[in-house]
């Protein structure tokens, strides 16, 4: 899990960092403003989760706002068995999926619905060599756009797995738990998602590689 998804925070009025449980108790007792501190470290995780389903930054942002409100209203039912961030991400995922379902016209069946999770072979982009693109190249807007475009092209269920595992860097078990699928299914979808991503992105990355690599 990313370092910005930690569970405790501090307030401007209290020099001692509060634990997550303390913050929640105080929010329920009426210190509403502490809720901002509680959700702040989860912002990137919830946004990425909503984005992984909806592919639209604007829609993802709206869903995050709805999910945060829902979490606030349901805070009394949060039992602390999982981390607050995990709970909020789960609410966000459900909200995003509901929104996607609502937005799909019944007759409009996406091609991705026909992509199964079977054992069919998948062929990557076959290259003769690879020149590494360093992370400094991410300063270039077009490289970031290319990577995001690659993710956009993945069917939803593969995008969800790839963003959970490889962008948010959850482990396989956490990914399975969040998405409500088995560990085996995570591995299968991850295998397909990673090779699809390689097939979509690698040829263009390679073609533009000289601009991104040193020397």
């Amino acid at each position: 899990m990313n370092s910005n998804e930690t569970q405790s925070s501090s307030t401007t009025t209290d020099p001692q960092p509060l634990t997550e449980a303390e913050m929640i108790s105080r929010i329920i007792a009426g210190e509403r403003e502490l809720f901002y501190d509680l959700i702040k470290p989860c912002e990137r995780a919830v946004f990425l989760t909503a984005f992984s389903v909806l592919k639209s930054e604007a829609d993802a942002e709206e869903v995050v706002q709805e999910a945060a409100l829902k979490a606030y209203k349901a805070l009394g039912s949060f039992r602390g068995e999982a981390k607050f961030s995990t709970w909020l991400v789960k609410i966000t995922l459900n909200e995003a999926r509901m929104r996607l379902r609502r937005s799909r016209v019944e007759s409009e069946v996406s091609l991705e619905d026909f992509v199964g999770d079977g054992d069919s072979d998948y062929t990557p982009a076959v290259l003769t060599d690879w020149r590494e693109i360093p992370s400094e190249a991410l300063e270039r807007k077009e490289l970031r756009a290319l990577l995001r475009r690659g993710l956009d092209e993945l069917p939803e269920k593969y995008r969800e797995v790839l963003i959970s595992r490889d962008v948010r860097e959850l482990n396989i078990e956490e990914t399975a738990q969040l998405l409500g699928i088995s560990i085996g299914m995570v591995k299968t979808r991850l295998f397909r998602a990673r090779l699809m991503m390689q097939k979509i992105v690698a040829p263009e990355l390679r073609a533009q590689g000289k601009r991104y690599t040193r020397g």
Partner: protein
Amino acid sequence: MVLDCKHVWREISNYIDGVLDPSVRASMEEHLAHCRHCAAVLDSTHNILYLIADERTFTLPAGFSERLHARLESELEKSEPASR
């Protein structure tokens, strides 16, 4: 165990995650040492995953936190969290 290219592609994801059986891993490494196509598939996949994990690839939209804060501020006044 001798692996062909298709078998190697199928296992690349598990190889990256380090969850392969040691004997399969050894066979893969033997294949990768001699097959530049599969080595390039592995290197490119690894490189792409490394790039998408970088926080610069997915940043929050500008003003995201401020808009979330403002929305919560206006809505939270109207409601209280359910008590335990």
